[in-house]
Symmetry: C4
Subunit: 370 residues, 4 copies
């Protein structure tokens, strides 16, 4: 996200530029940075509008949320200079650039969706929170106004104390001193801390559910591209999907290193990997899998596997494989058949002493081979 980094640089320069201790040279540098970033944003907007064909599409882009953020970012500083006489203060308009974080944070859309899903619970707690907030402020005013006419002289002032106390921030600038005020404060603190944690607990639960849903969709798309899995029934696939993780590897990355302990197996979704065996490496095309031997016998990895092209892999943990093998024996059959097929094809390059027949099934049956 280049424009995100640009916004960060611009914002930091603007922020540091407000420091009174800065020297003239530093100020010059920082101001130039802010102006340069602003110029870059104007250029980016202009370039984007220029490349978009037709006026109708341009208008639609400007009317979209993304376009409006781009437009606001580009206009922020020029607009500031127009209406604010002090150029130093005009730079504060660069704060609009913080909107770009929202534009690019895909997680933010997720966040709002979660808020929307759990709105019933959140609203009912919010309503309780507001009721407590009103009552606590008013009672604090009633209890404390004679003892501290300055601090608690009106309910709006007491509201400042109430919010500082309910969130357990506790600045200490306003304090109840009467018995009743302190008893009230005790309840407000306890109530506030429970209510906020409750709110957060509800959001966190909903967040976890939404993330799991997204992960399911993402992995499902990858799994359907592996021919091996296409032979399985839908229920088995849904079960596998919930247990796989994705891993992106660059060209030349070492996926598995000979001699290391292994607790994961890999399926190649796209790209290509090579098992570095001695006469000649075995090439693993999309649909192949590897690393199942270390899982099976608890032995260290017998060979190094390197990605020969940028690849997408699916990773299966040993704990998950065991649970899967127990619940879905057809998966084991499939992997074993495939392993046998592959071994026959590469018979020469395979180490001869592999105990081939008692593989994953033995693992699934949880019997110590004797």
């Amino acid at each position: 996200m280049p424009s995100n980094g640009l916004a960060t640089i611009g914002l930091l320069a603007m922020i540091l530029n407000t420091a009174p201790a800065a020297t003239t040279a530093q100020r010059l540098l920082l101001s130039s940075t802010v102006i340069a970033v602003s110029a870059a944003m104007i250029a980016m907007l202009a370039f984007h509008l220029w490349t978009v064909p037709g006026w109708r599409k341009r208008a639609r882009y400007v009317a979209s949320a993304e376009g409006m953020i781009d437009l606001a970012s580009a206009c922020a500083l020029p607009f500031g200079w127009l209406i604010v006489p002090d150029p130093q203060d005009a730079q504060l308009f660069a704060l609009v650039w913080a909107l770009r974080y929202i534009r690019h944070a895909s997680g933010l859309a997720l966040f709002w969706r979660v808020m929307h899903r759990s709105r019933t619970a959140l609203l009912s707690i919010l309503s309780l929170f507001i009721a407590i907030f009103f009552v606590a402020s008013s009672l604090a005013y009633i209890f404390e106004r004679h003892a501290q006419p300055d601090a608690f002289g009106s309910i709006p002032r007491a509201m400042w104390w109430a919010i500082v106390t309910m969130t357990t921030t506790g600045y200490g600038d306003m304090l109840p001193v009467t018995i009743w005020g302190r008893l009230l404060a005790g309840w407000v603190m306890v109530g506030g801390v429970v209510m906020f944690a409750l709110q957060a607990g509800i959001i966190a639960t909903a967040f976890a559910a939404e993330l799991q849903r997204r992960h399911f969709l993402h992995i499902w798309d990858l799994v359907t591209r592996v021919p091996l899995f296409q032979k399985l029934g839908a229920a088995t696939i849904a079960d596998i999907v919930r247990r796989l993780e994705m891993r992106d590897v660059g060209k030349g990355a070492i996926i598995v290193r000979k001699g290391e302990p292994g607790d994961t197996m890999y399926f190649v979704v796209s790209g290509e990997a090579a098992v570095q065996l001695d006469p000649a490496p075995i090439v693993l095309n999309p649909g192949s899998f590897f690393g199942e031997m270390a899982l099976l016998f608890g032995a260290p990895r017998s060979a190094t596997v390197v990605a020969t092209k940028p690849s997408v892999l699916l990773v299966l943990d040993v704990a998950d494989l065991r649970e899967l093998a127990a619940r879905r024996p057809e998966l084991v059959d499939l992997i074993e058949a495939e392993a046998r097929r592959r071994r026959d094809a590469n018979a020469a390059s395979q180490p001869p002493s592999t105990p081939s027949e008692r593989t994953l099934r033995a693992l699934a049956a949880a019997q110590v081979p004797d």
Copy 2:
């Protein structure tokens, strides 16, 4: 909730009226608002009592929780004027109106139910909390009373420090200064923060369970009104219910927009929707569904769907449809049969190239059509 908004306006006017900086004109306006709200509440109560037939029903209403809150709201200000000489202070009785939040917050009933369900856990933590509170206050008094006779001169004073510290509010008005006092304070902070978060964690878990239960009941009622689902077995329905969301749409609302990416399908529970196709729109009556094509092929929506009456829809997510299709193949059969029936009926208005036979089943079987 009109009376809820009324209470908020009245409360805000009362709160602002305590601000010493208010001018005479502002005060007059605020006081009038408070009095007007009070008058409105008296009128509402009188109207309600007048419309209820018979003295027995009136008495029962006044004796109910709702009636008592209405009565208290109506009497608050007149009662205040009677017993408090200062009219400014008498307005503080308007605080009673905050009870109306409780009256209308359906979530509050939920909240108390949750508290009741997890009372065993909450009480045992509360008892531990009180024991720590007593011991911490007493020890703080013992450790600090000689060093700070003013601040920690008695255990009740030390209790103020203890509650401020256990809730991590930390006003800073009272501080241990001895070694032992500070060691104690460290433990009190850690213990307090863990205990409160634990309390909140328990409530949040119970809250989530209760919300899920309510959602199940609500959706179940809607599902049983869709004829399509009535052909399914009970176990399948229970499974579907857990995955559906409800959506209310007003007349004329665009539910699905042509060309947008789609990841949800819709079932019409009540009302009416229209698929805007070219010769004539297809009318979707209660029991119909739409949007399944975009789910199936990942293609954008092929037509816009508009609600022609205020409608209630059930929404199914693509992730949930896939899991359901895997576990409940009969649902897929049903949807496909219905889709075929609908297509035959509207054959003329249907785009001819629809790949009709490999629909949801292909999706469920997770095979790439070849």
Copy 3:
């Protein structure tokens, strides 16, 4: 828990007695209360030892955790008077009575069991916490000692700042003022708040699991006493047990009130209840159930049910009944057969228009009766 209440009274009197504002008369009353509670504890211990037969059993009681707390409670004040010259200070030994909370809190045993179960996770976070605590204190000392030689003059002093900051208590008595100190403080706050919430999250999860386990055992014992359920298979019972709640009612308590909306059904475990119908009430013995009609048709309760003896009931929610009915059709058969049997037996007292054949099964099948 009488001795728990006694301890609370004694502790409160001791606490209030330290208030310097107390008059002589108040002091006399409070001191007498403390002494009386102490005398009562000595008497209780003596009585207990006197009623236990044989010296061996007495010795074993004194050696048990419970006996030691009783002994310590009884000896606290006399021991205090012996070794502390000031009688006012001697009363502080009454703090030992707070141990009685631990003795009676059954939830505390649960709490420790939970801590023990999740000790691996808790210890690893604790070790991380200690490492951060040491490093933060030392770095704060290094960064701040020249700027604030008084406040941050040694690492032990900086440790006080670190714990106050990590728990987000923030008294404000010690503050970093240098750039590096403030950057450090920012990280310490964020790290502290995440680590504590994490700790609490782990405990809360384990707590919820342990509570569910206890609930399962408790309800299982009740369910096996209901003959109706004994005809069901073990898997069905395990499923039911997870969904039932217990309710204790006293003699004469109204369990279900005619005309109220109903969303629960009840099974009588022990005691007796009566359905108040007009010619003669129907007596419900242990093993009977009631309230299923309101669940079925969403109609209000058709009759009032009163407990005629102190009774234990099992409560089943409508949401849970629906899920159970979907997964365990044999339960529905059983309830329907029983309902039919009961209706035949009480044919005279039954309202004639009950739609008897489409009962729970219709509900389970989710079909709108037509």
Copy 4:
């Protein structure tokens, strides 16, 4: 973890040594301790390098994370003395020893793995957090700079206020005083507390999942060593594994005490235990189980069981046994067959009145024996 304890001693001595109140004698003792610990670390490194055979292996060890921490620990103090003239200050380099906590905390690897797994969610919340942090600081500067030019005179200064407020630490050294500043502060507190709790909630959920995965693997390894379980199918084993807990007992430890209430049964994985019956104790070899009688009849333990060798046991809770028995009847068959076999073998030493035929199955069927 001896080197972990050594690091703690060294760190504590270094920390206390910075206290200005220390006497010369104390300082000498503390300095000597620090030097001794440093010497021990050098010796340990030297010994380790000496025992490792070959220069290549030595180089690899020094290049590993573990070796680098060892090297840094050993060199910390000598390096400090070299570059810092004040020997007191040079001791601060001992802070490097805190790295040893990371080296030994196996939980830390777990922690990072959890962070990695939930990175998508954490990063999106972090990005939101940074956006709010920037905006809150800038707005606070804009609102407060005229009212408090010293405190809020630049945005970097306002950032200190923002982080102190968002974490709800609330030192109270900087406070908004304007209306707009206080409204902003209220939102910042609420937003901060929700965001941190959300972050923590996500980590806690992921942590719990990862711990469960580890527990599954660990218990699986133990279960496969018990011959009894090897006769079961893989699905049953996976189900059992999720419910067992491990317990290590030393030689001579009393596992079960006669007359105590019992709610767990035990399986011997390795080692040996003895049931202390009267003519001669029954020896329990690996693969045996005991304690099932107390579970079955709710009676107290009928005999004491002592570990005669250091043993590893698997513990099954009564609640878990009941759920297992309901779902996996083959487990009950197996345990009963084994119990019968064992009873026949030890017929002489068995109490004659054991109601042998209605054992676990009766429990599983939840019928009260009549």
